[in-house]
Symmetry: C2
Subunit: 242 residues, 2 copies
């Protein structure tokens, strides 16, 4: 990771290609907009991993189209075979938790090794494409709960990436993991996204949407989203069930 | 990685559980036997990743049954969506290469980020199972060609594993990546396996087997296998096409 990237001092990289992880939520949409703003030509990458909120993939598609990418790939792998998370196993999604409760410990929605897997897939694709810059929208709010959203995790993955690959062996330090949101709050992220023209009505954050794809408004992810829009004084464009 | 493990000074760990990556070839079968010999109760893990030599999965099943495991899981994910390798894309598998040619450079059968992905899946499963020891059968012969078979790669993954997970955060250094074969030649591996009772007739190494699952005898993997049995003065139990 480049520290000037993290602190959002934008460097412009015309015609350089990047792989951008795109889940369809606020953070990944903003990250894609940042990568574009820095001049990267972007390959968006999403995952169908057996998540109960698969509706996010439709959002990812809309976001990729709206912001503009070279291509958008969705890779399939079934994390239900591993289980252990409320997002991939039949466990109840926590609802209506107070911020103090959400700040305590690693939540049941933690998916074991998820970002390691996502970044590994991105690394494989990046090497094939000859694109050595990988963007992931991890941020401060998430890393209070998820171990694989922390700066030290991202740095360790960057080290691994350059040891794991033919391209990394040929040129040390070739792969860079970019985490432009890692030190930003949800408010900072929303303000940044709006300044870059991100249409957040296309994004989806909910862990437990209904059959129509409407957000529950009560899971941790919905609550963080709602509170973010409120604190940023930006109109929340989300259609909630209630 | 524990250095005493790599040098094969066996430590006995009764009732401790391990996740063992099992492809169905010589190296992973021997690794499973080593883990068992060290007293681990083993969860075998195989991958259906769109490889053209999918017949290896039947071998993995037989090997797991013969050596004895707690369970054997096969996870599906499609690396054909990434491509870039003769093992997952419609590229020709090199045949009849001399050892000097095989020793030169990274071969076209290299699958971008494969061991990173395999270890990431093993890490996710291990965390869910509460098993913090992961065995992978990378070895000296392979690491001359594949970057993700080198000791520095495995050490970097171990560091990552302990930063990426809830279990690793709760107890630093909890996850260990065991690479008992990493310093062994194919001859050493075969002799070790025979001493542990491994039935190599159940294993499959070929990158390009025919419809009946018979090994081609000519790809790099078949040649390394043949040469290994010959040099170890062990009867090669493989059924080759020619």
């Amino acid at each position: 990771m480049e520290s000037d990237e993290n602190s959002m001092t934008s460097s412009f990289n015309p015609s350089k290609r990047a792989v951008v992880l795109l889940s369809g939520g606020i953070d990944s949409a903003t990250t894609l907009a940042v990568a574009k703003d820095q001049g990267y030509l972007c390959h968006a990458l999403s995952f169908d991993y057996g998540q109960r909120h698969k509706v996010e993939l439709a959002s990812a598609k809309k976001v990729a189209l709206a912001i503009g990418v070279l291509d958008h790939k969705t890779l399939h792998f079934d994390l239900r075979g591993i289980g252990g998370s409320a997002l991939t196993a039949p466990l109840e999604i926590p609802k209506d938790r107070l911020p103090t409760a959400r700040a305590h410990g690693i939540p049941i929605t933690y998916v074991p090794a998820r970002n390691t897997l996502f970044l590994s897939m991105a690394l494989g694709l990046a090497e094939v494409l000859g694109a050595y810059d990988i963007f992931i929208g991890v941020n401060a709010v998430d890393y209070s709960g998820y171990p694989d959203c922390r700066p030290e995790f991202c740095r360790a993955f960057e080290t691994l990436a350059n040891l794991a690959t033919k391209a990394g062996v040929e040129k040390a330090g070739r792969f860079q993991i970019h985490t432009p949101l890692i030190e930003l709050t949800k408010v900072d992220i929303l303000k940044l996204g709006v300044s870059l023209g991100v249409d957040y009505s296309l994004t989806m954050s909910c862990y437990d949407p209904d059959q129509q794809g409407l957000a529950c408004g009560r899971c941790d992810s919905c609550q963080i989203r709602k509170e973010g829009f409120l604190a940023a004084r930006i109109c929340d464009p989300t259609s909630y069930q209630t």
